[in-house]
């Protein structure tokens, strides 16, 4: 990552550069990061006086604080974008990740913007857990001086859409703070709701903050940096990566279809590090588009204009809109047209269970067929969510595979109402053949990184396709001859058919690169065993590894696995570390704060 904002920088004169080198000599990583943020702040503002030594010392009265809680990086990106927009308007701002925010400063804040996502069943992202708990707790301070606004991010196919944003918004008001403007709720098509919210935030900040005193503030690395030039390809401009190989890697009697997909990044200048994700833009299966058109009795060539862009109806559906997951807003809009008592009941205040059943058990096409309704094509497109890219943890290390990115893709498919159903992104990938181009971009994940110290042990907990990044981790550790030990916990349904990358793990184990591996297959024996059982079984040794500095990584299902693993880890601290429940939780929180307990869960 560039140490300075990647705007075209004026080259430093040789003597200045030498001075800078002298100044930075001997600084550790943290100090360098702080300094780079300081310099970024200098670049953004005119300095009237030397910068304060710490951000806390800066005058809160004249600055906006942006706190974000982000699981996949979307909330962080929104916060950073807003910060950039405020800076460009000459307004002082700092951006702080929620778990790095000093909670004691909260009463002194004047202007606070919170950008926070909601995970799974209404949970905060990992980095915002403490923030949310503190705010919700009894010791939360009165915030009568504070003015604020909240942008929630979420996925409306989950019932508790944006629940965390809502919770924070309501709590801040309850603590006496003044809500500057209404909460934004961004669905997977984030910009639709986020852009207007940011515009209002900018306007309001101008009003609240005094004309710029322009104190240099320390901004965390990345936060206010413009997108680096180096990356020609981006989320908005994906690289068309040729598919090299697409192989099923579960046995023929497996209940699911998991693919190992290899993509070429040759010539893209795209770089990734172990832990990063690859974003994939998909198009909808033609059969699904046809089915939707048929259900609507619509003409596929009918021109539809949305936000000034005109395309045939079928093209909107195939390449621009989400057609599988149902969302509450869509169900509500559909209910108005369908005049169905069942739908109305599900949408009623006491219909939460019915709504959940509807959202879980139906895809868009099911709703259209079961509750036929007249739709105008433009309204239909406008009501659907824009198609969002799907993020896959990269299952390779560039050190091992060169200009390639490997993915482990569970092809989502199931039966409903007598028909085979498919998940669009995974199906899209599964249907690609060698030589087909796949639109991709790199999604960095700084919160899921191998230890900088190669001598550190690592423990990787990755059941199912959650094992993907660990294939990259182990490859990287082999290629870089890292001396730390590697321990993998893997679980899935059946040993015989679902042991993803079995022969690779066996080889690494034989070669002494994978020092330990524990497996749990849930459907092979009468009693179901999962990774958390394997963790407990190895609790003693695991605790020793951790106490000796090992880094823990968890990847995979957020709703149950990650929670069960979290509980198992706390249990191990109780059983083997003499902790009680409370101190075990603190122990684990300290590991997380120390970046030794990292999760990539979804």
């Amino acid at each position: 990552m560039p140490a300075l904002p990647a705007r075209p920088a004026k080259p430093l004169a040789q003597d200045v550069l030498a001075q800078l080198t002298r100044l930075t000599e001997g600084l550790d990583r943290d100090a360098l990061q702080w300094a780079s943020g300081y310099l970024a702040g200098l670049a953004a503002h005119t300095i009237r006086q030397p910068a304060a030594a710490t951000p806390a010392a800066a005058d809160a009265a004249v600055r906006a604080t942006l706190v974000y809680g982000s699981q996949t990086g979307n909330a962080r990106r929104q916060a950073e974008t807003l910060a950039r927009e405020l800076e460009q308007a000459g307004l002082p701002v700092r951006v702080v990740r929620a778990d790095a925010y000093p909670l004691r400063e909260l009463p002194a804040e004047r202007l606070l913007y919170v950008v926070v996502s909601t995970q799974g069943d209404g949970d905060p992202p990992d980095d915002a857990r403490a923030f949310v708990e503190h705010l919700g707790g009894r010791r939360a301070p009165r915030l009568s001086q504070l003015r604020y606004a909240v942008l929630g991010l979420g996925d409306s196919s989950y019932p508790k859409f944006c629940a965390v944003g809502t919770q924070i918004d309501e709590r801040l008001a309850a603590l006496g703070a003044e809500r500057l403007f209404a909460r934004g709720e961004a669905d997977v098509d984030i910009e639709t709701a986020a852009a207007p919210w940011r515009r209002t935030a900018l306007t309001q900040a101008r009003v609240v903050l005094e004309p710029p005193p322009a104190l240099a503030t320390v901004t965390p690395l990345r936060s206010t940096a413009a997108p680096p030039d180096a990356a020609v390809w981006s989320r908005e401009r994906p690289f068309m990566a040729p598919l090299l190989s697409n192989r099923r890697i579960v046995g023929r009697d497996s209940g699911e279809d998991v693919r190992h997909v290899e993509l070429s990044l040759q010539g893209s200048d795209l770089h990734y590090r172990p832990g990063d994700a690859l974003g994939v833009w998909s198009t909808q299966p033609p059969a699904l588009v046809d089915a939707v058109l048929a259900a609507l009795r619509a003409d596929r060539e009918h021109s539809v204009t949305i936000a000034g862009e005109t395309l045939p109806f079928a093209q909107w559906l195939s390449g621009r809109r989400e057609l599988t997951r149902l969302t509450r807003p869509f169900v509500a809009a559909h209910a108005q047209r369908a005049r169905s008592a069942a739908l109305d009941a599900a949408l009623a205040a006491d219909g939460a269970d019915a709504l959940r059943a509807l959202l879980d058990g139906h895809q868009l096409i099911d709703l259209l067929r079961r509750f036929p309704a007249p739709w105008d094509a433009a309204d239909f497109v406008a009501t659907l969510r824009p198609l969002a890219p799907r993020l896959y943890s990269i299952a390779s290390s560039r050190a091992a595979v060169g200009d390639e990115a490997h993915l482990t893709v569970a092809v989502v498919g199931y039966e409903a109402f007598g028909e085979a159903r498919i998940g669009s992104a995974s199906r899209f990938l599964a249907d690609r053949a060698e030589g087909d181009a796949v639109p991709v971009f790199i999604e960095p994940n700084e919160r899921f990184r191998l230890p900088e110290d190669p001598a550190r042990d690592i423990v990787m907990i990755g059941p199912g396709t959650g094992v993907a990044p660990f294939r990259g981790f182990v490859q990287e550790r082999i290629e870089t001859a890292a001396s730390g030990r590697n321990w993998l916990f893997f679980g899935h349904r059946h040993f015989r058919s679902d042991f993803l990358y079995q022969t690779e793990w066996q080889q690494a184990h034989r070669d002494g690169h994978l020092h330990r591996i524990d497996v749990a297959f849930s459907r092979d024996r009468p009693e179901k065993v999962y990774v958390q059982h394997a963790l407990r079984r190895r609790g003693r040794e695991l605790y020793d590894w951790i106490e000796n500095g090992a880094h823990l990584y968890v990847c995979g299902d957020a709703s149950r696995m990650a929670r069960d693993v979290d509980a198992a880890l706390r249990g191990i601290a109780v059983t083997h570390g003499g902790h009680d429940a409370e101190s075990a939780a603190e122990w684990l929180a300290a590991l997380a704060a120390d970046r030794r307990y990292s999760r990539d869960v979804y």
Partner: protein
């Protein structure tokens, strides 16, 4: 060949195994793989099991980054192949729960379970033992399951001979407690790993050792295919003793002229009270004289051909401490099984059932597994496995015949009414589980028989009893070298066509066409069937006809030409 050559790797593994334990316990506990450590795959044979994998899936799974689909075959030690209905039901339940929903009846009167996975291996072996059957020494370099002509209840002498088979099996059983410790959780006691093996010693035999007992005139165990064959001499219903035949064995290696099938030769007679001593003398002589450097040449037949039959006999007599009595007169007039109902000496009845390739399974209308389960639930006698992959529902009261007949009809257990060539055919397991197979056998047999039957019908030979055997490799589990017609696998779809064995297990066939595919095999059979139909003498068997008519080489079987 020279006994002074270094021992084969398997000898080293056995020697270091602490009486067949090796690292089996660690191998079983390793949940990263469905396989055993390499050395343990040798040792587990002595416990009655082979590690195999589904060869149909090998390449597919390699591409899936999955190891081969490993599973285990488990073979029982069931001397004479006798089990009670309760045991049958237990074995059926094991096949259904742990194996591939089939029971396979072997050519050596044992049951085989296929497809047992490693983490259920112990539970499976425990379940087998709960039914009072074990798998000790069912494979490995030891005396294997002892065969005896089935249906001993046909005469009192049969019952006596069967009892001797059981005694032999016990007497030649390894003494190590490894089996009990590993599978049945027996406590280790002092001396564990160093048990005395009075018959075998610390490295067991150089190679497998097969024993069979037959009661003339039926040679339904193919007695001369065994390392040790014991021919019961019964006069007036009284068992006098046994003629002792040694040195039989059918395995060979393609392209290695030093290897060949060989029939056992009679070296004398022994009274029942010295039977165990004679058997032990033969086994220990082979233990000490057999080749331990080259496993291709380590069967007793090669030991005998190396030192000479007379010298081997002298060695046996030296160990016995007395000379063998002279061979007694006997005559075999048939091999193969008898089908349908037979009445025993005591008025009890026995129903011989055809089980194609010995595979008891539910397949379409032929629901043999379910049918035999239904019979076992009402049957008061016992079941007897024949040496030809078939089954006898034995010791049935006259009043139960109708019930059993009704069940047999209901579940399609009527293959014994089909054409003789189909009824008498033998096939080894071969693909996909046998690691030695070079070509299909069991899976191909039904199609092959359809075509052969059509040819026979075309020549008016549908009723001709012709012994046809097919084997996926030259090692000879289906005893192909004793088939009037035999296909011995060379490569996928290609076989050596062997012809001309007799019908009672006393003459080997010979190579007729090498490495040929089905069209050529069928064309050749078509030609020979035409000649047979036109020129055969009354009651003349196909194999005898081929030899008499000069349609196949008249010399003794090629393998014997290259004997030293």
């Amino acid at each position: 060949m020279a006994p002074s050559a270094p021992p084969s790797p398997v000898e080293t593994i056995k020697a270091a195994s602490r009486r067949l334990r090796g690292t089996l316990a660690e191998s079983l506990a390793d949940d990263l793989t469905g396989a055993l450590r390499a050395d343990d795959t040798q040792l587990i044979k002595f416990h009655g099991s082979y590690q195999q994998d589904d060869r149909d899936l090998r390449e597919e799974r390699r591409a899936q980054k999955l190891e081969p689909a490993y599973s285990f075959m488990i073979r029982t030690r069931t001397p004479g192949g006798v089990v009670t209905p309760a045991q049958w039901l237990a074995l059926d339940a094991i096949a259904t729960r742990y194996a591939n929903h089939t029971l396979r009846l072997t050519t050596r009167q044992a049951f085989q379970f296929h497809g047992v996975i490693k983490h259920e291996l112990k539970a499976t072996i425990q379940a087998i033992n709960r039914s009072l059957i074990d798998s000790i020494a069912a494979c490995g370099d030891v005396n294997r399951n002892v065969m005896v002509s089935p249906n001993p209840v046909e005469s009192r002498a049969h019952a006596e001979v069967y009892a001797w088979a059981c005694r032999l099996s016990e007497h030649l059983k390894p003494q190590t407690r490894a089996y009990y410790e590993l599978w049945l959780d027996e406590q280790r006691i002092a001396g564990s790993g160093e048990e005395d093996e009075p018959v075998y010693g610390p490295v067991y035999l150089p190679r497998k050792f097969k024993t069979a007992l037959a009661i003339p005139p039926h040679n339904d165990v193919d007695l001369f295919a065994n390392d040790l064959g014991l021919i019961a001499i019964v006069e007036g219903g009284v068992l006098h003793g046994f003629n002792v035949a040694v040195g039989g064995g059918l395995g060979a290696t393609h392209g290695d002229a030093r290897t060949y099938p060989r029939l056992a030769e009679v070296i004398g007679f022994v009274a029942p009270d010295r039977l165990l001593a004679v058997a032990e003398a033969v086994v220990t002589a082979q233990r000490d004289l057999g080749d331990r450097s080259d496993r291709k040449l380590s069967r007793l037949k090669y030991t005998i051909d190396r030192i000479g039959l007379a010298a081997f006999k002298a060695e046996v007599e030296r160990r016995l401490g007395e000379p063998l009595e002279p061979e007694r007169a006997y005559a075999f007039d048939q091999a193969g099984d008898r089908f349908g109902w037979v009445e025993g000496h005591d008025g009890r009845w026995h129903l011989g059932l055809r089980i194609e390739s010995g595979r008891v399974a539910d397949r379409n209308a032929r629901r043999h597994l379910s049918g035999l389960r239904a019979i076992a639930q009402v049957h008061g006698g016992d079941f007897r496995l024949t040496g030809n992959q078939n089954l006898i529902v034995a010791n049935v009261g006259a009043d139960m015949r109708e019930t059993i007949d009704r069940l047999a009809a209901e579940y399609g257990l009527d293959d014994h009414r089909r054409a003789p060539v189909r009824r008498d055919a033998l096939a080894c397991v071969a693909l996909p589980t046998c690691s030695l197979a070079m070509a299909e056998a069991e899976r191909y047999l039904p199609d092959l028989l359809d075509r052969v039957e059509a040819l026979l019908a075309a020549h008016g030979l549908s009723d001709a009893p012709i012994g046809l055997r097919i084997s996926g490799c030259p090692n000879g589990c289906s005893r192909p070298y004793l088939g009037e017609i035999a296909l011995v696998g060379k490569a996928p779809g290609r076989y050596n066509l062997m012809l001309g064995a007799d019908a009672c297990g006393r003459r080997l066939n010979r190579l007729h066409r090498e490495n040929v595919a089905e069209p050529e095999i069928l064309a050749e059979l078509d030609r020979l069937f035409a000649r047979y139909a036109a020129e055969r003498r009354p009651a003349e068997r196909f194999g005898d006809f081929l030899l008499r008519s000069g349609l196949i080489a008249t010399a003794s079987s090629p393998p014997s030409e290259v004997r030293p």
